[in-house]
Amino acid sequence: MNNSNLSAILSLHAELSLVVVLVVVLLADLLRKPDAGGRWFRVMVCLLMGVQVFLDLTPDARSLFGGMYVNTPFTSVVKSILSAGTLLVFLQCGEWLGRRDTRFRQGEFYVLTLSTLLGMFFMLSSGHFLMFYIGLETASIPMACVVAMDKYRHHSAEAGAKFILSSMFSSALLLYGLSLLYGTCGTLYFADVPGLLQGSPLQQLALVLFIAGMGFKMSLVPFHLWTADVYQGAPTGVTAYLSVISKGAAAVALAVVLRFVFPLMKDDWTLTIAVLSVVSITVANLMAILQGDMKRFMAFSSISQAGYIVLGALAGTTQGMASMAYYIAVYVVANVAVFAVISTIEQHTGGLTSRDDYRGLYRTNPRLTLVMTLALFSLGGIPPFAGFFSKFFIFAAAFEEGWWVVVFLALLNTIISLYYYLLVVKAMYISEPEDGRCVVAPMRSAPGVRLCLVLCVAGICALGLCSGFYEGLEYWAEAL
C-alpha cells in the first residue's frame, strides 16, 4: 500500500472512525457481563459517539477509489448531523436498554445501529450506484433486526417481518431499476452517468424505480405503508432512529443523486418528486388525524415531514440542499424529543402509548409536557422554534424554482398537521382524564433521557434563532 492509498484511506475518516467505534463497542460488549446493567457501557458508547460527531466534518471535497467514494463538505456535515442524531437516540434509549429483558442485547443494539449508520455514510458518500446500493442495504437490513429486537413481543416481531419483507421487495425493484440504468448507460459511476443519459423511456422507468426505492426508505406515499406498522411495533428508541436518521440520510442521498446524476432528466424527477411530496403530505396528514396511538401517529407525522423534506430535493438548488439538511437537523431534534417523551412514558407506565393516556399529563409531569409541546410546535412549524424556520426555508427553496402550487398545497396541509399536533397538546393540557386522574404518575426520567431532552430543546430553540447554523449549511452546500 503506497502513501497515497494510505491518505486515501484516512480520508474516509468519518467511516473509519465509525468503524472504530463499532469495533470498540463490539469488543466491549464481548468483555462485559451480559446480564449486568451496562450503564457504563452505555455511557461509553455515548461518549464515543459524542467524539465521533466531530470527526465527520471535512473541509474539502474528495473523490477516492476511482470515483467510488466522493466526500464533500456538505455530505460530511450531513453525516455529522446524523451522528449527532444517533447520539441523541442513544441517550434516550438508555432506559429501555437497561430494562431487564433487553439489557443483555444492548451490545447488539449498538452494533447494529452503528452499522446502519455506517451504511448511510456510505450511501451519502458513494460515487457509484453499487456503493450506493450496498450502503442502502447496510442501512436497512440490520435495521430489521433492531426493529424485531423486543423479540418476545409479538408486535415487534410483526414489525420486523413487515420491515424486512417490504424492504426486500423495494430493494429488489431498486436493483432492477439500477440494472436498467446500467443497461442504458453502460456505467454506474455518478460522474459518468450524466453524460450518457438520454432520458429514454427505459431510463424513466429506471428513475421511477430508483425513486420508489428511496421513497420506501423515506416512506413517501404510496411506498410508505410499512411505516406506521413498523413504527408502532418497533421499540420506541428504534422508531425514533428510523424516523429521523434513516429518513434523513435517504432524503439527502436521494437529493444528491437526483441533482448530480440525473440533471438531464430534471423534468422527470421534479415532477415525480412534486407528486410524491404532495401526495405524501396530504395522505399522511389525513391518516394522522385518525390515529390514537402516539407512535403510530408519529409515524404518519413523519411521513408528512418526509413530504416536506423532499421539497428541498425538488428545488435541487444549493439553497434547496442547505434547507433540506437544515430541515433534517431540526426535524431530528424535534422528533427525537417527542420520541424521548413517548418512550419515557412508555417505560414508566408499562407500555402506554395511547394519546388518551396522556390526558392531564401537564398536571403530573409539567416539564415533560412542556418539552413535548415545544417539540410538537416545532414540528408544526410554529415560531420561534426551529421548525418554523426550516419550513420557511424549504418552502422558499421550492418556491424559487417555481413550484408555487406545490408549496401552496404543502402550506394548506400544515393546517391539518397543526390540527393533529394540537390534538396531542390538547390531550396533555386540556382534556380531563377519564376518572379525573392522569394515568401517568409523576416521574423522574433517567439522566440520559434528560440530557437528550435538554439537548433537543436547546436545538429546537437555538437552531432557528441563531442564523449561523443555516448559513453554515448554505456555505457548505455551495461547496457541494
Binding site: R105, M131, I141, P142
Partner: protein, 171 residues
C-alpha cells in the same frame, strides 16, 4: 434458415425451464415444491452466467444460492411446519387486483424493454472470464475496481450475522 447453435438450444431450454419454474415457485400449493422450483430457477440462473462466460459468478450463484440459501429455506420450512399448514387461498378481488397489477407491470416493462432497441451484439461463445481479472478488480482501488464495496459488503454481512444470531437465538 440459419443454423441453430448449441448456445441457442441451451438458452432456449434453460429459459423455458426458468420461466416455468418461476411460475411454479409462486403458484405451487406445496411450499417444498415451490422451494424446489426456486432451486431450479437458481440453477438456471447460474447456467446463464456460464453461458455468458462469467464462470466465477455462476459458481458463486451455485454455492451461495443453490447451496446455501435453498438449504436454509428447506430447514426453516420444516422448522416452522410451513409444509403442513399452507393455506394459499385468497379472496377473488384481491387475487384479481394482484394479477392485474402484475400483468400491467409486466406489459409496461416488456414494452419498454422491447421498445428501447438494444444493440444486437454477438458474444463469443464459451469464452470464460479470467478469475484473476475478477480478483484483481475486487481488491483494486482504482476506477472499475471494487475494494471499497467489498469492504462495505463485509460490514454488511457481519452486521447481518450478528443481527440474525441475535434474533434467532434463544436466550
Amino acid at each position: 434458415m440459419e443454423e441453430i447453435t448449441l448456445q441457442q438450444v441451451i438458452f432456449g431450454i434453460v429459459a423455458l425451464m426458468m420461466m416455468v419454474c418461476s411460475v411454479l415457485a409462486v403458484t405451487s400449493g406445496k411450499i417444498l415444491r415451490a422451494a424446489t422450483a426456486l432451486l431450479f430457477v437458481l440453477f438456471g440462473t447460474s447456467v446463464f452466467y456460464f453461458i455468458l462466460g462469467y464462470t466465477y459468478l455462476g459458481a458463486v450463484q451455485l454455492s451461495v444460492y443453490a447451496g446455501g440459501i435453498v438449504v436454509l429455506y428447506v430447514f426453516s420450512i420444516l422448522l416452522t411446519r410451513s409444509d403442513k399448514n399452507m393455506n394459499e387461498r385468497i379472496p377473488r378481488g384481491r387475487w384479481f387486483a394482484a394479477l392485474a397489477t402484475t400483468v400491467a407491470g409486466f406489459v409496461l416493462v416488456a414494452f419498454l424493454l422491447l421498445g428501447h432497441g438494444f444493440a444486437d451484439t454477438v458474444i463469443p461463445a464459451l469464452e470464460e472470464l479470467n478469475p484473476g481479472t475478477v480478483g484483481e478488480a475486487l481488491i483494486g482501488t482504482g476506477k472499475y475496481q471494487f475494494v471499497l464495496p467489498f469492504e462495505g459488503v463485509s460490514v454488511l454481512l457481519l452486521a447481518c450475522m450478528i443481527g440474525a444470531i441475535m434474533i434467532a437465538r434463544k436466550h
